[in-house]
């Protein structure tokens, strides 16, 4: 597989919830080069959720082009889109990312159960999913053995979000999309969390799309874009 330049590439993208409804998203052009750590600032009402549902493959645009890793994501049908997403994109959400009935390590290895490609990448590195989970958790400062045996519901919110990051990163997907993952953290923990996230993405060459309404985080990223300025539907 040759190196593709763009991790995400949008052209003339248009999306409306119904045929008669006004468009909620109209983006002429958005390119995210591979390896970039992009901060996309979007207050509520800027079309942030819509863009994320398009990138997650939950919704499909009415017109325009949405390429992910050079593949026409907007043209893929249900099952193929699901597989592509599972193989290439890791997600971190705002809150409650973990399954309460699984241990910390089991939560992190979850994507390997569903994506043969991610578990294949670990095999190529001659690591088992559990070893890799422990390595990632250690990188993220969760190597205290006492934490490991505890139910994930007893972890602090910051710890839970770091477990979610480890899960998004396992098996080295090309792209990680984080949706307000820091909104429940206080300022100190927020900065620590972001440094860990950035560091891991940089080490693995992973493209990071970080979506948040909080402009104060912007200096920590390579580049910042205002969604409200991109989305002609809200201007």
């Amino acid at each position: 597989m040759f190196l593709r330049e763009m991790a995400i590439s949008l052209h003339n993208l248009e999306f409306r919830w119904h045929k008669q409804a006004p468009p909620t998203l109209l983006i002429d052009r958005l390119d995210v080069p591979r390896g970039e750590r992009l901060f996309l600032r979007g207050p509520s009402g800027s079309g942030k959720s819509t863009l994320l549902s398009l990138l997650g493959g939950v919704s499909q645009p009415q017109s325009g082009v949405l390429e992910v890793l050079g593949e026409p994501f907007h043209l893929m049908r249900g099952a193929r889109r699901d597989r592509f997403r599972a193989d290439h994109i890791g997600f971190v959400f705002q809150l409650f990312n973990l399954l309460p009935y699984l241990s910390m390590v089991e939560n992190v290895t979850l994507p390997c159960r569903f994506s043969p490609r991610r578990s294949q990448r670990l095999r190529d590195k001659q690591r088992s999913p559990e070893e890799e989970a422990l390595r990632l958790l250690a990188e993220l400062g969760l190597d205290d053995p006492r934490l490991r045996g505890r139910p994930v519901t007893e972890l602090s919110v910051g710890q839970q979000q770091r477990v979610a990051v480890a899960r998004a990163l396992i098996g080295s997907p090309e792209l990680v999309i984080a949706d307000e993952p820091t909104s429940a953290l206080d300022a100190d923990r927020c900065e620590l969390f972001l440094r860990l996230l950035e560091g891991e993405c940089a080490a693995e060459g992973i493209t990071l799309l970080f979506v948040s309404h909080d402009a104060s985080l912007a200096p920590l990223f390579d580049r910042t874009l205002e969604l409200a300025a991109l989305n002609r539907a809200v201007q």
């Binding site: 959720s49 994320l52 549902s53 997650g56 493959g57 939950v58 919704s59 249900g78 099952a79 699901d82 597989r83 997403r85 599972a86 193989d87 997600f91 959400f93 705002q94 809150l95 409650f96 990312n97 973990l98 399954l99 309460p100 009935y101 699984l102 979850l110 994507p111 159960r113 569903f114 994506s115 899960r167």
Partner: protein
Amino acid sequence: MPIIILALKSLWNRRATALLTLLSIALAVTLLLGVERLRTEARASFANTLSATDLVVGARSGPVPLLLYAVFRLGNATNNISWQSYQAIATRPEVAWTIPLALGDAHQGYPVLGTTAAYFDHYRYGQRQPLRLAQGVPFSDLYDAVLGAEVAKALGYRLGDAIVLSHGAGKVSFVDHADKPFRVVGILAATGTPVDRTVHVSLAAIEAIHIDYQNGAPRPGHSLSAEQAREMDLTPKTLTAFLVGLHSRVAVFRLQRFINDYPEEPLLAILPGVALGELWQVIGIGEQALLAVSAMVVLVGLAGMLTALLAGLGERRRELAILRSVGARPWQIFTLLVSEALTLALLGAAFGLALLYLLLAFSAPLLQAHYGLQLGLGLPSRHEWQLLGLVLGAGLVVGSIPAWRAYRYSLADGMSIRL
């Protein structure tokens, strides 16, 4: 299969609800299989009320009435048969043995049967089981009586007690044979057949207590004491019916035809197995109803599972969204929910089966002693496996309803975690 493991862990996480659901399915399965087993046993025991008997012979009426009074000792015979006809048939070369039956009297509503020692030698029920005396001995003296298990238990009789027979088959009789009391010499073990409800005396005793009767009523001024009756000729003049055993079953239809065409007297010979089958057709409707009711109970149990799964689904939308975000496809979400339901149904069926055997192990000796029902601890029959299969199938169908809902949710919600 990772999905199954996830399903099990998720179930374990909700174990309180899951356990209740499991329990209701298990109890329903126990009831279903228990009723099925009792039903099968009741039918078998009914069909085996009388075994090893080739023909039942009585005065000409119909097969079912003859069966009812000769075997079940219910109601009255319309006519008796003569001692001569009985002798003529009993002495035929193909006949191995006969059991004469003289009915018509009662003791506290329980039928009194006059018969001979052949009754204890040749009468068979169930899987050709002979009668067994729980206490005492067969009758030998003229005024000896042998009680069926239920008679002795219900009326509290013991060996040596004196009993008075009543004239006529009713519960309330105005004419007692009070002048000729009987002594209890034997009590039979429970058989689960009408034998349990019978008071057995000798044929001669039946003759003796009616010796001073004429046209079914005591002859005034001609009463004979118990001791005087001993001196009389007590050869019976009539019988109600008799059972016939043959040397070879091959001769059964020939003898049946011979008896039905008997020129001296209108007689009827029936094959007890065939007649019992006809009778079961009539009274067997109840067993179907019983099975239908227990099938309903299983449906209620599964409906409980459906309720629990559907109610839990709302709270689990977040769990489903997380699974979607880590790459689970909608069909895998469907599989997850179906495997949960199937696990519940499977464990429910297994626990139900275990509970059934536990109950059987405890109750089988009691049922045997009190009702003569033999509930084996054998492996489930093919029909029982089929019923279990139906329960699992129904569990699968019921489980696919919440699974389908979850599938729709996971398509609509995608990965957005709704709180």
